[in-house]
């Protein structure tokens, strides 16, 4: 524990949760990628394990350095990253690599990454910065509209290729505006507008002709997913059915690590359906409630930061990123257990996801940095 305390600064409970999630992720990815490894890598089952482990380790190094930084630097970093996002998102739309029919990735200097991952983290950080500076003017509309415009533009640039990410990001930003004490009147209006837009969008999707002009876009995919979700049991897709089997047969204690039978049948068990897969192997208690509690604990500890933080930026940064990660995790869980329609959201820190792990690590690192700052200020860490 001495060693642990020496190197892991900041909130140790958060650190423990992160380590727990990462370990279960590595074990899960190794087991879940078996069939993928046979399909794409000629049976080299260690390929994805190694790749994932490398990303997790790099993620830890990044978290470590982020927590050592003074969190106030994140204010400036957020600004720079957001500008970078504004440049890279349109480039991705125009020039990005095609994977799974979606143009989502951009390759820079040989490293391929999802620009929306960068945009998400930088937008959340930037909103925290913006709102903390405007805490005395939160009731004015002039405070709301510039940041709202910024949010909408970013989300619109992500939406064509990755609608679910854009929707979740928008919802998270909305929550952040709420936490940042934006006038409820405006937020109510905004919520109404969102409902209207959602209704219009649904009507549009249900009536658009998939074989017409929309053929080369992702609209037919969205349409099919929504139709299936609304169609009840009849239209249940293979993925949903297989995920339900995985969750159901997992039982209270699971089939045991590496003993999944559904991984062969459940597409994307290592990413979009990781939670279902983990329940199958680790059961409701550890794989289900355990993982959920880890995220809730992280979120709960960020509330502690709000209580103790002397400045609004630190509080909003920590709680904003905390909600950002948790919302993503909970929506992923909702999809995995078939409460929500199928989306391509991964389970942060756990799912195999390459560069998304890196950006999530920056987010966790920032939370830890704020917690380290308040702990040291309080002086409850002797060697601080």
């Amino acid at each position: 524990m001495q060693v642990f305390n020496k190197y892991f600064k900041g909130d140790r409970l958060i650190w423990l949760c992160i380590i727990f999630l990462s370990l279960i992720g590595v074990a899960g990815v190794y087991s879940a990628t078996g069939s993928l490894a046979f399909a794409l890598k000629g049976g080299d089952t260690e390929y994805y394990l190694l790749k994932h482990t490398v990303f997790v380790v790099v993620g830890f190094i990044i978290m470590y350095f982020c927590q050592m930084m003074d969190y106030r630097y994140f204010s400036r970093i957020a600004q720079l990253l957001l500008i970078l996002s504004f440049i890279l998102l349109p480039i991705t739309l125009l020039l990005g690599d095609d994977t799974n029919d979606a143009t989502r990735r951009l390759t820079i200097l040989g490293i391929s990454f999802q620009t929306s991952d960068l945009a998400k983290v930088s937008l959340i950080m930037y909103i925290s910065r913006y709102l903390s500076k405007k805490q005395d003017k939160t009731h004015e509309f002039s405070t709301l509209w510039p940041i709202l415009a910024c949010i909408v533009v970013i989300c619109l640039m992500i939406a064509p290729e990755n609608l679910s990410t854009a929707l979740v990001l928008f919802a998270t930003c909305f929550l952040l505006l709420f936490l940042g004490r934006i006038n409820l009147k405006y937020l109510g209006g905004l919520f109404g507008a969102m409902l209207l837009a959602a209704t219009l969008g649904l009507v549009f999707l249900l009536n658009v002709d998939s074989d017409g002009w929309a053929k080369s876009t992702r609209i037919p995919t969205w349409k099919a997913r929504v139709e299936r979700y609304m169609g009840g049991d009849e239209g249940e897709s293979v993925q949903v059915k297989q995920a339900k089997i995985a969750v159901s047969t997992g039982g209270l204690f699971g089939k045991g690590p590496g003993k999944s039978t559904q991984r062969v049948f459940l597409p994307h068990s290592y990413s979009d359906f990781m939670f279902a897969f983990l329940i199958e192997e680790y059961g409701l208690i550890i794989g289900g409630i355990g993982i959920m509690l880890a995220y809730l604990l992280i979120l709960f500890r960020t509330i502690r930061i709000v209580i103790k933080s002397p400045k609004a930026f630190g509080a909003l940064l920590a709680v904003g990123l905390g909600f950002f990660l948790c919302i993503q995790a909970f929506i992923h869980m909702g999809v995995s257990v078939s409460l929500l329609p199928v989306t391509g959201l991964t389970l942060p820190l756990v799912s195999m996801g390459g560069t998304s792990i890196i950006f999530n690590s920056i987010a966790f690192g920032a939370i830890l940095s704020v917690s380290r700052f308040i702990d040291e200020k309080e002086g409850d860490v002797p060697n601080g």
Partner: protein
């Protein structure tokens, strides 16, 4: 701290919402695990999805000029998902009769009312995988997509087309055994030898079990697309192959022979230009059922004398002008009598005359005089000529040669004299051809090869260059002397019937008695052969012909095998090697004669050549015949009703086979060139599965 409090309140509210959602998630898990436990347990036990393999399409085999020797034509099995999302009840009711009508017209099988009844039944039962028809061709599969209901698209209209392929050899029997086939455990010819290259790599896809135990493909990102097989380009010249096969066939029939084969090699490279094998079947017809050219080692007989003469000349043991006592064409080695096939005219002959007239006595006496005490010196030449071991030919089934040596079982005092005239030694036809090819090539032995390149959709993957097997099996001057001897065989020896003022050929006849295992040699069964090259003054091609067991009283190599050789030589002379382009002094443009067929390809070629082309009607036909009109080529629409046999006369083979197959006919092909006649006249009603014979002519 009003601000902090306000923020905290909002954070707590949000946290509570997340927790509530979490409770829902846990609730859902509990519902799945406990309330619906049995349902999912049952589903997991009868797991209804699987990964299934998807066949890669097999590569083509081409002749030297790019003609297809073997190809895979796409075929489709047609199924229908009656519960596809785009089929509303209104749509179904409105269109079911017209769909049933089209099905009965194009698929046949059953009348319109039955089709309609079956479609309705499938829909009311919720069948998601109703089989409509198997094995339809490419163009019909294309048309189906435009039919009512189906035209709503793959997922909405419920049309499921499963592609597979069937192997087709457009030239039928031509080089059939060399092209070969590949089945589970039985691999023959190029198909067998290059199976791994031609086969490609299978893909896999996710399939879901549907009502009735059938599997339907599901869109999934873990699927792997199959990697199609590569194309193999052979050195076979389809026209020469046709001539060789045809000439061999007629000779076999004429002499009622058991089997025969022809090997044609290019002197400079060793490339196999033709390889024909025919064997009499039980019903009296002839077919390519065994690759004798590489698979049967026999006593070569007199053609092996060239080997003996090479040894004599190379070692300086004799001069061609040396005189030998023929002993009246009869001599004895120990208790064995050796006899010449024809009674010699004189008692003494020069060594040259012994070769030209194929004297067994003269040849064996010269060899005995030179090597009786040292047979190893003679055997060394056989070894140098690579005749004691396999050639390492690309396709499987090459038989091992047998060359005895002193001290080994079977070697006796009579072995050397009989070996010198081609007995007590076993060689396959390809080896003899390679040996003669080496002499024609001034002593340089090339390795016979059949595969020139491996390509991926026209892009070269691997190229095979000619290989030298033995740099010099004898000196150049010896080779020249041997060439002179072979010219003499045709000029004034045993093969004067092959003399022709047009093209001078050279070679050696062979007439061997068929070995009967331990019982010695048959007096009545013979193997007639001829090995040689042409043109005599500048060797370009080597040809070896064997006819096994002719049974019409004639069995001499010159009379049975010689004509096949001559015919092949004349054909090569006329078409390939020496035809000069007709020089045109006029400046007028040459409009090429364009085969009818798939017009898109023809047009693009004409465009590249700068020749104008236009349709006769208003629009471009997809398939058409052609006509010259001034300096342009005119295309005439040529696709009759789908249920009628099209007119393919004047079309190229590939297009003709393609369109006839796509109409449900089985195609048999004879000859080469363009379609000259078709056995079912155009315009007649197509009876699916019936056979149409098309004869081609250059």
């Amino acid at each position: 701290m009003n601000i902090k409090k306000s923020i905290l309140t909002r954070v707590y509210i949000s946290f509570l919402l997340v927790v509530i959602f979490g409770v829902f998630v846990i609730g859902q898990i509990i519902k799945l695990q406990f309330v619906e436990k049995d349902k999912w347990k049952k589903l997991s036990l009868e797991q209804s999805i699987r990964y299934n393999e998807v066949e890669a399409s097999r590569g083509n085999i081409y002749a030297a000029n790019g003609e297809l020797l073997a190809t895979s034509l796409p075929r489709f099995d047609v199924y229908w998902d009656s519960r596809a999302s785009g089929i509303s009840n209104a749509l179904f009711e409105e269109k079911v009769d017209s769909l049933a009508f089209l099905l009965s017209v194009h698929f046949g099988i059953k009348p319109e009312q039955d089709w309609q009844r079956d479609l309705r039944k499938a829909r009311s039962q919720g069948s998601r995988y109703l089989r409509l028809k198997r094995n339809i061709g490419f163009s019909l599969a294309k048309d189906i997509r435009k039919w009512p209901i189906f035209r709503k698209g793959k997922y909405k209209g419920g049309l499921i087309l499963e592609e597979k392929s069937s192997r087709k050899m457009p030239y039928g029997i031509l080089a059939a055994r060399t092209v070969g086939f590949s089945r589970e455990t039985y691999h023959v010819g190029v198909e067998g030898a290059f199976d791994s290259i031609l086969a490609g790599v299978q893909g896999q896809r996710l399939e879901e079990k549907m009502y009735g135990g059938v599997w339907k493909p599901v869109a999934d990102q873990n699927g792997v697309d199959p990697k199609d097989g590569l194309d193999v380009y052979t050195t076979i010249d389809i026209e020469l192959q046709d001539v060789a096969e045809d000439a061999l066939y007629r000779t076999l029939v004429k002499n009622n022979a058991h089997h025969g084969c022809v090997v044609l090699l290019e002197v400079e490279t060793g490339a196999v230009k033709a390889i024909a094998n025919l064997e009499r079947q039980k019903d009296g017809s002839y077919a390519e059922t065994y690759n004798y050219a590489i698979g049967e080692s026999t006593d070569p007989g007199s053609t092996f004398k060239l080997m003996s003469f090479m040894a004599l000349l190379e070692d300086g043991k004799a001069e061609l002008s040396d005189s030998i006592d023929i002993e009246g064409g009869r001599t004895k080695y120990y208790d064995q009598e050796m006899v010449d096939a024809s009674r010699p005219k004189r008692q003494f002959q020069t060594l040259r005359e012994c070769f030209e007239r194929s004297s067994n006595v003269g040849t064996s006496k010269a060899i005995m005089a030179a090597y009786k005490d040292n047979p190893q010196a003679y055997l060394k030449h056989i070894k140098n000529a690579h005749l004691d071991r396999k050639l390492g030919f690309e396709i499987k089934g090459e038989s091992s040669p047998l060359v005895k040596a002193p001290g080994q079982p079977g070697w006796s005092g009579t072995t050397l004299p009989w070996m010198s005239i081609g007995y007590e030694v076993l060689l396959n036809p390809m080896q003899i051809a390679a040996f003669y090819n080496a002499i024609a090539n001034d002593g340089k032995m090339m390795k016979p090869y059949l595969i020139s390149a491996i390509k991926d959709a026209g892009r070269s993957i691997e190229k095979f260059e000619p290989q030298v097997l033995e740099r010099a099996i004898c000196s150049k001057s010896t080779a020249k002397q041997l060439q002179g001897l072979m010219e003499g065989v045709v000029e004034n020896g045993t093969a004067t019937n092959l003399k022709d003022l047009g093209l001078k050929v050279a070679g050696k006849t062979g007439t061997a008695q068929v070995a009967l295992g331990s019982k010695g040699f048959s007096k009545t069964s013979h193997t007639a052969s001829f090995a040689g090259y042409f043109p005599a003054y500048n060797p370009k091609y080597t040809c070896y012909v064997v006819v096994n067991r002719p049974s019409m009283g004639v069995y001499y190599g010159s009379l049975v095998a010689g004509p096949v050789f001559r015919e092949v030589a004349d054909k090569v002379y006329a078409t390939v090697a020496y035809s000069k382009p007709i020089e045109s002094k006029e400046e007028t443009a040459q409009i090429p004669w364009v085969k009818g067929g798939y017009t898109v390809e023809a047009r693009s070629v004409l465009n590249k050549m700068g020749i104008s082309s236009h349709p006769k009607q208003d629009s471009w036909p997809e398939w058409g015949s052609t006509a010259k009109r001034g300096l342009a080529v005119v295309f005439v629409e040529k696709v009759p009703a789908k249920s009628k046999v099209p007119n393919v006369i004047g079309w190229g083979l590939r297009d003709a086979v393609y369109i006839l197959e796509s109409r449900g006919l089985k195609v048999r092909v004879q000859g080469y060139g363009k379609v000259n006649t078709q056995s079912i006249p155009s315009g007649s009603q197509i009876i699916k599965g019936s056979t149409i014979l098309i004869r081609l002519k250059p």
